[in-house]
């Protein structure tokens, strides 16, 4: 017993103070919100588009490059291929949005997720109970969602919890491209959640199918199957990105909150792979 207490003192209290305090430091090479500078593209747009493993890049009607955060796996390949500074991954971890269209980036600002409205918000009160369903997820998204329950992040502080049964849940947090083999189980789990209910798609696979888009074995994510209330991009999303999205959804972070300082990702590698 004494040993346990001694060790407890040594391990100290280390829960992050975010969002009251500053967010935890992200590594210099962290690849967050990409920024596109159209003026730097003199040539080579097609090569950059072809370099994307998930087809996240395309041209819009005016010929400008657009990036679909719902498909992006944040590998950084496009930034390496593009002219210097044309595509930069920044340290901005705030990526969650409320509608699918908001994930398609051109040059403007990302429209961050806003609080749930109406009856649903009132009914939730100060808590959000989620049932997690992995439907073909590789265990990356699952593991970094689970991390929020550890004492480092302690998501329970905000009344957010992963629960064991859909009957106890206010909604689903779906990960993975939704394999054909999980379609029925996902549908049944959704039906078992009492209404009104929400759906959160976490990770490129759940939003669009990601790398597994267009496969006969998958359903291109949950977006076309269920009404999604929150999209959290990433492969997998950083725990901070997911937490930020969840807190915005329940109104614990809003547009008035101070902005984190944003820097370009410290990626030195410009060599071709």
């Amino acid at each position: 017993m004494l040993r346990i207490i001694r060790e407890r003192l040594r391990q100290r209290f280390r829960t992050i103070s975010f969002p009251r305090g500053a967010p935890p430091a992200l590594p210099a090479r962290f690849r967050g919100l990409p920024r596109i500078d159209q003026s730097r593209f003199v040539h080579g747009v097609d090569e950059v588009i072809a370099s994307c493993p998930t087809g996240a890049l395309s041209r819009d009607a005016k010929g400008a490059l657009t990036l679909d955060l719902g498909r992006c796996i944040f590998c950084g390949e496009c930034a390496r291929m593009a002219p210097q500074g044309a595509i930069t991954f920044t340290s901005d971890y705030r990526l969650a949005v409320r509608t699918r269209e908001h994930l398609v980036l051109s040059e403007g600002e990302l429209r961050h997720a806003v609080e749930l409205g109406g009856k649903l918000r009132r009914q939730l009160g100060r808590s959000l109970k989620l049932r997690q369903v992995s439907a073909g997820g590789c265990n990356g998204c699952e593991a970094d969602a689970n991390v929020l329950t550890t004492i480092g992040w302690d998501m329970g502080r905000f009344g957010i919890q992963f629960v064991a049964s859909p009957r106890h849940a206010d909604g689903l947090l779906v990960t993975g491209p939704v394999t054909r083999n999980m379609l029925l189980a996902l549908r049944k789990t959704y039906e078992a959640v009492p209404a009104p209910k929400i759906v959160i798609a976490s990770g490129a696979c759940a939003i669009s199918g990601g790398l597994y888009r267009g496969f006969a074995e998958t359903c291109n994510g949950v977006t076309e199957l269920l009404p999604v209330d929150l999209f959290v991009p990433g492969c997998p999303p950083h725990p901070l990105t997911l937490l930020d999205g969840l807190l915005r959804l329940i109104g614990r972070i809003g547009e008035k909150d101070p902005l984190p300082s944003i820097t370009p990702s410290g990626e030195e590698t410009t060599r071709e792979l």
């Binding site: 040993r3 346990i4 060790e7 407890r8 040594r10 391990q11 280390r14 992200l26 590594p27 210099a28 090479r29 962290f30 690849r31 994307c52 493993p53 998930t54 944040f74 590998c75 950084g76 390949e77 049932r131 992995s134 439907a135 073909g136 997820g137 590789c138 265990n139 990356g140 998204c141 699952e142 593991a143 970094d144 991390v147 329950t149 550890t150 004492i151 992040w153 992963f162 064991a164 049964s165 491209p177 394999t179 054909r180 083999n181 999980m182 029925l184 189980a185 789990t189 790398l211 597994y212 496969f215 006969a216 074995e217 998958t218 950083h238 990626e267 030195e268 590698t269 071709e272 792979l273």
Partner: protein
């Protein structure tokens, strides 16, 4: 004259497909059976649609460090080897499912993943509905059945478990998977292309470095690319960080499963601290984007090395303090010891791998037995246990974690100088490459076969979980069903790694 000798290969090497002998069935059968009885592991055993169907097996002999490969040809059926060699049971089921063939006399011929047939499969088989199979059942007045999943209570991947119980006691557990099947092997055919390495990185997300390294070593073997020593060292550092994060995280989860909350709480956080060290190297907590054909995409500068070193010593101290409590707490030991014991003979027969096998005194480790890359320069002691129970599986992982800490301590400070990425080249045509990597769950095996254009005509992946799921089922026999979560966590196998 028919060939009598299998082709000799090395880990991370390629041979022309033509050099792999095609044995008549009888010769193939006796070669495979005698290799296994002489102590070799079946690293891979797969079919491809070529001249009927070509079945190729790769045997890995830890005694000599050699790999041997041989093939045979079948039309649509063969006499199952499973009755004589249980280690092939799942490989045979997999081939039967992927190409609609029949291993005659297979005692447990059920779907593996409920997947659609592979290209080139024999026609005539519809894809079965997931979970639609004849489950093993036991009848009796006191016998009842418990079905769990695919969706489980925790934040975890899906799978279906069926227990046949007599009261509390589990007589038999049947594990039926396939819910995570995404079709990765099918998607890799025709590669390598811009997606291939990303498929490898997401085969099992918690083993990103392990699978990406296996993929890259296969490509490097096919294209004769020499990886610079500094890149090999960074890969080895990332592989050990991956092992540490998973081992420490799982020790915490095991503590949680027996209600020992101090270790459970701290290890969850420490695991995150280790993932952040990987993110320091490459920006991703899981090591996405780091390992690339030819080396690594990110170098470490002096500042990063200093930072890694500093964090390593504080994480090692925290982990030592948190995990050390487990081995002296009577409430933990009482639950760990004797729970889910697996006999060494069973583990050996099933061809199990990794910490679960080493916990049964099967002292095998790819890093020592078939070293490639950095492991050729760094000797590693293999950690093992004797009792094959939850305690042994947990303790082996703690021993391995300590050795990983020591390895990192030594290597981070002494990185070789030089380049980190060799230039890309085209893979050889009509060649076969085998690469083995000791992932944190055990031996990962990738086999790449190229055709006349140098593109993959078959890419076979064997995740360690594929070899170990049956071990979990066996470990549960005679155990109380309430011990399943603890037992399951002590193996912590991958669903998507199995389902592909």
């Amino acid at each position: 004259m028919a060939p009598t000798n299998a082709a000799l290969l090395a880990n991370g090497a390629a041979v022309p497909v033509g050099h792999i002998p095609v044995f008549p069935w009888k010769t193939f059968r006796s070669w495979l059976l005698s290799s296994v009885s002489d102590g070799a592991e079946i690293a891979s055993f797969f079919a491809r649609p070529e001249k009927g169907f070509t079945l190729t097996a790769v045997c890995a002999d830890p005694g000599t460090g050699n790999l041997q490969a041989a093939s045979t040809r079948v039309e649509d059926a063969w006499d199952s080897l499973t009755p004589e060699c249980e280690a092939v049971h799942l490989f045979e089921r997999e081939m039967a499912e992927q190409y609609n063939m029949t291993p005659n006399g297979h005692p447990w011929l059920k779907p593996v993943r409920f997947q659609p047939p592979m290209d080139g499969s024999r026609p005539g088989r519809a894809t079965p509905e997931i979970g639609d199979t004849r489950f093993f059942s036991i009848e009796g007045d006191e016998v009842h059945e418990v079905a769990v999943g695919p969706v489980h209570a925790g934040v975890i991947e899906p799978g279906h478990f069926r227990f046949q119980c007599n009261g509390e006691t589990v007589l038999h557990l049947e594990i039926s998977l396939g819910y995570q099947h995404r079709g990765v092997e099918r998607a890799l055919i025709g590669g390598p292309d811009v997606r291939s390495v990303h498929f490898a990185e997401t085969l099992a997300g918690d083993t990103t470095i392990g699978h990406a390294t296996a993929y890259c070593e296969a490509i490097e073997a096919l294209a004769s690319i020499a990886v610079p020593p500094r890149a090999q060292a960074i890969r080895a550092i990332a592989l050990e960080l991956e092992r540490l994060a998973n081992h420490i995280g799982d020790l915490g989860a095991l503590a949680g499963d027996v209600g020992f909350l101090p270790t459970s709480s701290w290890c969850g956080r420490i695991r995150g601290d280790i993932l952040s060290m990987t993110a320091l190297v490459c920006g991703s907590r899981f090591g996405r984007g780091l390992v690339r054909p030819g080396g690594v995409a990110y170098d470490l500068d002096e500042m990063a090395i200093g930072e890694l070193h500093e964090r390593l010593s504080s994480v090692a101290r925290d982990a030592g303090g948190a995990c050390g409590l487990l081995w002296s707490a009577p409430s933990v030991l009482a639950r760990f010891e004797g729970t889910g014991a697996l006999a060494a003979a069973t583990a050996r027969r099933l061809g199990m791998t990794g910490p679960a096998a080493r916990a049964c005194a099967i002292e095998r480790d790819v890093r020592r037995d078939f070293p490639t890359g950095f492991w050729r320069f760094s000797q590693l002691a293999v950690s093992s246990g004797r009792t094959g129970d939850v305690f042994a599986r947990a303790y082996v992982r703690w021993l391995e974690a300590q050795r990983s800490f020591a390895f990192l301590e030594e290597q981070i400070a002494a990185l070789p100088r030089g380049e980190t990425l060799a230039s890309a080249r085209k893979p050889a045509r009509n060649a076969l490459a085998v690469s083995l990597v000791e992932g944190w769950r055990g031996m990962i095996c990738h086999c790449a076969v190229t055709g006349a254009q140098g593109a993959f005509t078959r890419y076979k992946i064997v995740d360690p979980s594929f070899r170990n799921w049956m071990g979990l089922a066996m470990a549960m026999r005679g155990e109380p069903i309430s011990d399943f979560p603890l037992c399951n966590k002590s193996f912590n196998l991958s669903y998507c790694g199995h389902d592909l």
